[in-house]
């Protein structure tokens, strides 16, 4: 029998005992709904997580470090890569080279140091990091109060909110909401802080940095080596308070105070890696401990990483870090999927039951069909088609039901979240692939359920069936 005929006959038969088949289909719907609800919760959580991660950056960022730093643990890499990379220095030349790689938007040195910031005459030790001008468009600074740096060299500073609280003498509390950032910024915006730092200055021939106060110079007298360390101060105006997560992975890890990049570069702040690069420091060029390369599209991160590795540097990106995370979510999916499928499996028993009943009722009809020329295969296919149709209908209704359940729970959770002072979140996501997958899954489960009844119907002896009144 041809497929359109099968479908037509199957639908006709389903309509004949409408109530029973509807109830069975409802069973499948509930099963599919629970599966969809479970999986969309998992997907929603992952998306929530991914959004948080995206907020923290690094999806489009490749961290470049000199391979020398990783010596010992990177033996294999060294063997793969070209040997000249072995002695490659991460200097301005290398930065420009990386910046000119295809798909790289920009490459900027990661300047990061721990130093003292004075506010209201009280010293606070903190991690300071430099931000490139491009960070302004970064979603990491979405919730920032105030404004971004007026220019890349302006003596301005953006504070992380917990540090802002620290400056005001408050203890950080959990679950701080946006209003709090606004309060903090009201008190701090426009105020000034003084940053004390160690300047790395070339011993004799190097020109003084623009902001340096030459008279205040307390040359440590390391004249024998290539540079000296000078204590400096810099006054900075607070222009913004960001609710950036201090644990985020965006370039300046764990930094709580941010400076414009060009300004930070011009300060020639002593960096921990300077000690390691001491033999090279004779050159006029600054050597960077690490460079962040921003990639146009997360999909190209891998290619850029490979290209940079070929140049002889070590790289790190969220791709490396998120592999473990993906594993966690795979396990979560499997878990939620199994739970969600349970109801569907129960529903599939309903299909078996309904079809076995249908065989008993339609014994004679099956006999007639065989007598007028239906093959075993035709009868089998007809029962399969009925099971499959119930599966598809159940799947479609179930997806709708699951989506509705998700919406309701989403709404409920967000009402609760709002009461607890958290911003609303989208826990539930039903992507198209899940819709397609759920319906297909219901279809396949139904067909499997139809195996036994269809086989039984096909084997029915027509003589017996016709004798049966």
């Amino acid at each position: 029998m041809k497929i359109p005929d099968l479908a037509e006959l199957a639908l006709r038969n389903l309509r004949e005992s409408l109530l029973r088949n509807s109830l069975t289909t409802v069973g499948i719907s509930v099963g599919v709904a629970s599966l969809v609800a479970m999986l969309s919760l998992g997907i929603g959580l992952q998306q929530l997580f991914s959004r948080r991660l995206a907020k923290s950056g690094l999806f489009d960022t490749v961290l470049v470090t000199s391979r020398r730093d990783l010596r010992g643990m990177g033996r294999e890499e060294e063997r793969n890569g070209p040997m000249p990379g072995e002695s490659r220095v991460l200097d301005e030349g290398a930065r420009l080279e990386i910046e000119h790689l295809p798909n790289v938007i920009e490459a900027y040195p990661d300047i990061r140091f721990i130093t003292e910031v004075r506010y209201d005459d009280k010293p606070h030790l903190t991690m300071i990091a430099a931000l490139p001008a491009s960070a302004k468009s970064n979603d990491a600074f979405d919730g920032m109060q105030g404004s971004f740096f007026s220019s890349d060299t302006a003596p301005e500073v953006i504070l992380q909110k917990t540090f802002a609280e620290e400056l005001l003498g408050k203890t950080p509390t959990r679950g701080v909401d946006d209003a709090n950032v606004a309060d903090l910024s009201k008190l701090l915006l426009g105020k000034e802080v003084t940053m004390r730092y160690a300047q790395r200055s070339a011993s004799a021939a190097q020109p003084s940095p623009p902001s340096a106060d030459a008279a205040n110079s307390t040359d440590a007298g390391l004249g024998g080596v290539a540079y000296s360390v000078v204590s400096r101060e810099q006054t900075l105006r607070i222009v913004g308070v960001a609710d950036l997560d201090p644990e985020s992975m965006r370039g300046p890890t764990r930094a709580k105070v941010f400076l414009p990049l060009k300004l930070a570069q011009s300060l020639h702040v002593m960096q921990p890696t300077d000690l390691r690069e001491i033999s090279r420091a004779a050159s006029d060029q600054p050597v960077y401990s690490s460079i962040s390369a921003r990639v146009k599209n997360p999909a190209q991160v891998q290619a850029v990483e490979d290209a940079i590795k070929k140049m002889g540097f070590s790289t790190f990106s969220i791709l490396d870090a998120s592999r473990g995370l993906q594993q966690v979510f795979r396990v979560l999916y499997a878990f939620l999927g199994i739970f969600g499928s349970l109801a569907l499996i129960v529903a599939s028993i309903g299909i078996v039951n309904t079809l076995v009943m249908a065989i008993l009722e339609r014994r004679r009809e099956i006999g007639i069909m065989k007598a007028i020329g239906a093959s075993d295969g035709d009868v089998k296919k007809l029962f399969f088609a009925e099971a499959g149709a119930m599966g598809i209908f159940g799947g479609i209704v179930g997806v709708g039901l699951g989506w509705a359940i998700g919406q309701v729970i989403n709404l409920g959770t967000n009402v609760y979240m709002k009461r607890q002072g958290f911003p609303p979140e989208h826990f539930w996501a039903v992507p198209l692939w899940l819709v397609v997958f759920a319906i297909l899954f219901a279809f396949v489960v139904s067909l499997v359920s139809g195996l036994y009844p269809a086989g039984r119907a096909a084997r029915l002896d027509p003589v017996q069936a016709l004798r049966y009144e």
Binding site: M1, K2, P4, D5, L9, R12, N13, E16, R364, E365, G367, I368, M369, K370, A371, I372, G373, A374, S375, D376, G377, D378, D461, P462, V463, L466, E469
Partner: protein, 258 residues
């Protein structure tokens, strides 16, 4: 009507041959020999009545001829096909294309209109949709039910239902029509109508007809040969001159074929 009703319509070829046919059933501990060594030969175009009381094995033979059942031993050969050796799939194809069946209880599918009932064998034969509709309508018109084709079987009289069953049996143009007590559920007048139709198909299309009945009178009126069975065995096989056939055929046929 050019062909004389009295002469045989057979062309001499053998349509059906059974050789030492057995069909046994296990019923609890005892063995029931429903068909017990029956050998018959039926020529193409014959109208044969299988006669016997209930339990004589006549229906069992019919089922074996229809390919609905397989012999325990012996052979059934229909148009050079040994049904005992066909696969289930081939038997289904044989039923689909070579046999038409009519039953005492009509065996129409109650959830379908009579048009759909008649169309059903064509679905199994995978005939194109437009051909199917046309053929089914024509078949129903031929049995005089053109106006009622969208009715369900339950809305029709017994005679009309049996006519529908006849239309369905003949839709695939089989060589063999098997009828199991076709008038058993009909009043005598309607029974005559149905028998006339069957006789007409036999004569006009040269279709071999095997009819099971327990009514000797019916067989004498229409069949050209009567085979008597008892306890699964053949007890008598005689030719017969249909008594009312010639006369009624001439009454009905010109009108029916005009």
């Amino acid at each position: 009507m050019t062909s004389p009703a009295a002469t045989s319509h057979t062309d001499g070829t053998v349509a059906i041959r059974t050789v030492d046919l057995h069909r046994h059933y296990a019923m609890g501990q005892s063995l029931i020999r429903a068909v017990d060594g029956v050998s018959i030969e039926i020529a193409t175009g014959e109208f044969v009545a299988l006669l016997g009381s209930s339990g004589s094995g006549k229906s069992s033979i019919l089922n074996l001829l229809a390919g609905l059942d397989r012999p325990t031993s012996g052979s059934v050969t229909v148009h050079d096909k040994n049904l005992a050796q066909l696969s289930r799939e081939d038997l289904a194809r044989y039923r689909r294309h070579s046999v038409g069946m009519v039953f005492q209880s009509f065996n129409l599918i109650s959830s379908m209109s009579i048009l759909e009932n008649v169309e059903l064998p064509l679905r199994f034969a995978e005939v194109e949709r437009e051909h199917r509709a046309k053929q089914s309508r024509e078949a129903l018109e031929r049995v005089g039910l053109g106006a009622r084709m969208h009715h369900r079987p339950s809305e029709l009289s017994g005679g009309e239902q049996q006519r529908t069953a006849l239309a369905r049996a003949l839709i695939n143009r089989p060589q063999l029509l098997l009828a199991d007590e076709p008038t058993g559920n009909l009043d005598s007048h309607t029974g005559v109508e149905i028998m006339n139709l069957i006789g007409e198909f036999n004569r006009q299309m040269g279709m071999t007809v095997v009819m099971v009945t327990h009514e000797r009178a019916l067989a004498e009126r229409y069949a050209r040969r009567m085979i008597f069975l008892a306890d699964g065995k053949l007890v008598d096989d005689r030719s017969n001159t249909p008594t009312s056939f010639a006369g009624e055929a001439q009454e009905v046929a010109p009108g029916g074929r005009a």
